[in-house]
Symmetry: C2
Subunit: 261 residues, 2 copies
């Protein structure tokens, strides 16, 4: 690649989160970096987008001389604005999202604003990577993650991606020397066991607050949760085609129903 | 099934939308119907859920003697509250979501609150169906849709589903006699061509408003968009495993990178 690649950086924890700063530091030497990220935390926003309200986009100076904007919308809004308004003809060669504070392995990909932002770019044919560190804390140590981010970004910029445009990358919360390497995985089967806290507000009215416990149901060595438990960085090539192809033939008889009543 | 099945009804257009009333009317004879739906429109919320705010749940009397609640959260929040708080031990045998005002065919499934609500129930092992009518208007005619809703609900309650827990059903905006029947499909490849309207608010500050044009890229006769164009009700069995299995082998060499710098 002769021209320096343009790398869009976004996240869902908001532009002031430590994770996006770590991601910018990790990728800034590999291309022309432009940041468009939410102006507030947008965790668990999934693939939400804003259609009934206007969006704001403000230039900010937070990362030395890197071009950066904060946006009032969701992570997916950020990617759409980046593509159409901020970058336009300049194009995007790679989109990286994160580093998320907390796991997006397994079914968390469904709820994740971080991966949804990357998926939005992938829908536009842009190679995209969502990065997440298995540490929810503000003081999380992103240093071990950076090495793997640099390798994957270098790899994708050099080799491209085949049969996917989207990688969901999770990094175990371990010191660098205890991380065993990268592992290409599939999405583990798992579920959240919800528990709603029920309480009363100062006016005596009930409210509910969502809490939950992630429960892995998948012991396969090639499943991302297991790889993380074993000390690997998990890399799941992902897609936006949700068709359950295995179910198509079994449903054919439903086409044949007598619809004459 | 001896016991009357419990059918959870939800949507993303909000509990006052005509579409959910049509859905309730279509399914109420097939089981014990309980409604938990958003108290305001929640279109394009994807799989968003509410973790940083409390949720409200209010019993409402909107549908004769049917037990119904409005919830302050997203469609996915509604399903989680229905399962854990409203129904609990009563269980849910089938979740139906919609009828959405507008298409959720093709990649719209990614953004859709309607289908995300159904997917949330499917993650819990509950057979689920998202229904959408290709008519955005408040005055949409849901009568032709009801016949197909009844057939699919009857089919799933009787036969269950194999290799899927989730059907994404879209109904063409046609008079009943012009609808050709049901077609089992795969998700069409398509994209949205965005265009942001840029304008100034009364204070002279820029704002952006998302608009877009859906563009089908898939002429396959088995693709849902094409089936709808041909006058069929499209039924896409869907899943929450986003792994791009075809891409795993091609990525193995990325595991081998020298990570020693």
């Amino acid at each position: 690649m002769n021209k320096k690649p343009t790398i869009l950086v976004t996240n869902d924890d908001g532009i002031t989160a430590p994770g996006i700063r770590a991601l910018i530091e990790a990728v800034k030497d590999y291309g022309h970096v432009v940041v468009v990220a939410p102006d507030k935390p947008q965790s668990a926003q999934g693939h939400a987008l804003t259609i009934n309200m206007p969006l704001r986009l403000r230039k900010v100076k937070l990362f030395d001389d890197i071009e950066a904007y904060e946006c009032s919308g969701t992570p997916v809004d950020c990617v759409k604005l980046a593509k159409d308004v901020v970058l336009g003809d300049r194009g995007i060669d790679l989109c990286v999202s994160g580093v998320n504070h907390g796991s997006n392995a397994s079914i968390n990909i469904i709820y994740s604003g971080t991966v949804s932002a990357a998926m939005e770019a992938s829908l536009e044919g842009i190679n995209s990577i969502g990065f997440s560190l298995l540490d929810y804390s503000f003081e999380a140590n992103f240093e071990p993650a950076k090495k793997y981010i640099r390798h994957l970004v270098t790899y994708v910029l050099k080799n491209g991606l085949k049969n996917t445009k989207l990688l969901n990358v999770n990094i175990p919360n371990l010191p660098a020397e205890q991380i065993k390497g990268l592992k290409i995985c599939r999405q583990a089967e798992a579920k959240w066991i919800e528990e709603f806290t029920r309480s009363k507000d100062p006016h005596g009215r009930d409210y509910y607050w969502l809490t939950g416990k992630f429960t892995n149901l998948d012991d396969g060595e090639d499943a991302d949760v297991k790889a993380l438990e074993n000390g690997y960085v998990s890399v799941v090539p992902s897609q936006h085609d949700l068709t359950a192809y295995d179910a198509i033939e079994g449903l054919r008889e439903a086409e044949q129903l007598d619809i004459g009543h």
